[in-house]
Symmetry: C2
Subunit: 191 residues, 2 copies
């Protein structure tokens, strides 16, 4: 069992509706030491990959991506959930359905920050049905950039997102893959 799986068992909780709550350390309160371990682990797993930019999506991906970026020594770009008046000009856009919030968001990335010269590591906290990830991949490829890899903190292995992304040929490294969740007993198992 790795450091993240152990942390999930120790401090996560399994709720009805396939909800895995990890807000104590990953997506509401953020344990920076844990995020460093995650960044270090992704750097190890992607050591042979060409990466000059990390792409993530607001909000929960940002902290994880920024700490990981220190290990790759690259800037972070985060896809924004709505068009801000602070962003002018052309943007790449994708529609993303949120599993957690049951809403559809339009996410955008300014064309100034992603282009054919970029080799992108996509980072996010969760992978369930893969909607957010598909949006980020679509934006990256529309920009003519290369998806060098995808780093996920927690993959819900019993949903179809991980299989779909791997079947499409992308290099996906999830630090914890949850195989099953039992809300009655409040426990989960890992692949």
């Amino acid at each position: 069992m790795n450091f993240l799986e152990k942390r999930i068992l120790d401090e996560g909780s399994v709720l009805p509706g396939n909800v895995l709550k990890v807000d104590k350390f990953l997506n509401h309160q953020l344990d920076i030491s844990l995020l460093k371990q995650m960044g270090e682990e992704w750097k190890k797993r992607f050591q042979d990959a060409e990466v000059n930019k990390i792409l993530t999506i607001e909000a929960s991906g940002i902290g994880i991506a920024c700490i990981a970026a220190e290990y790759f020594d690259v800037p972070v770009v985060f896809a924004k959930k709505s068009k801000s008046i602070n962003i002018e000009g052309d943007v790449y856009m994708a529609e993303v359905e949120s599993f957690t919030h049951k809403t559809v968001n339009r996410v955008i990335v300014s064309k100034r920050f992603l282009g054919p010269e970029d080799k992108v590591l996509i980072i996010d906290d969760f992978l369930a049905n893969g909607c957010a990830l598909k949006g980020l991949i679509q934006i990256t490829e529309e920009a003519g950039a290369k998806v060098s890899g995808i780093g996920i903190a927690i993959e819900k292995g019993f949903q179809q997102g991980g299989k779909m992304i791997r079947d499409m040929g992308y290099r996906l490294e999830s630090l914890a893959i949850v195989e099953s969740m039992d809300p009655e007993k409040g426990v989960c198992t890992f692949r």
Copy 2:
């Protein structure tokens, strides 16, 4: 002129409507080296302050707060913009008007992550009218926690937020205070 002021002059842009666009390095694409300099500078300015937690607000505050947290060796909590089904139980809540988006958001922090034992450094990217900051202060004090300090990247010195917060007695350290902005010439000056 400090490192952030210089970066704003070099790569920021001044737009009509008192908009200072710094999305190339601060709030859409994030220059992690710059964020490290900012964290180091806040640590220097708040070296005598008791801080055991950093509080920020999604989305632009998160990256800055996480990198700063490495210098303070504390966890980050970010206020979330809407009630997620992943957060159960009691939350602290504040209404926050966004200067940029012209919207009012309800922001929440789980009561599990803020309490009387906490000495909080509040971090955010911008301070203009002070609405977001007032919301974060309100949440901190409702939790019985202490506001040990407030670190802002860019304060718009010609809006009333900074004066209001200082008049309330809070220790506010803004790394760049914009004194005036001229959208016609596309320039700004610093205090």
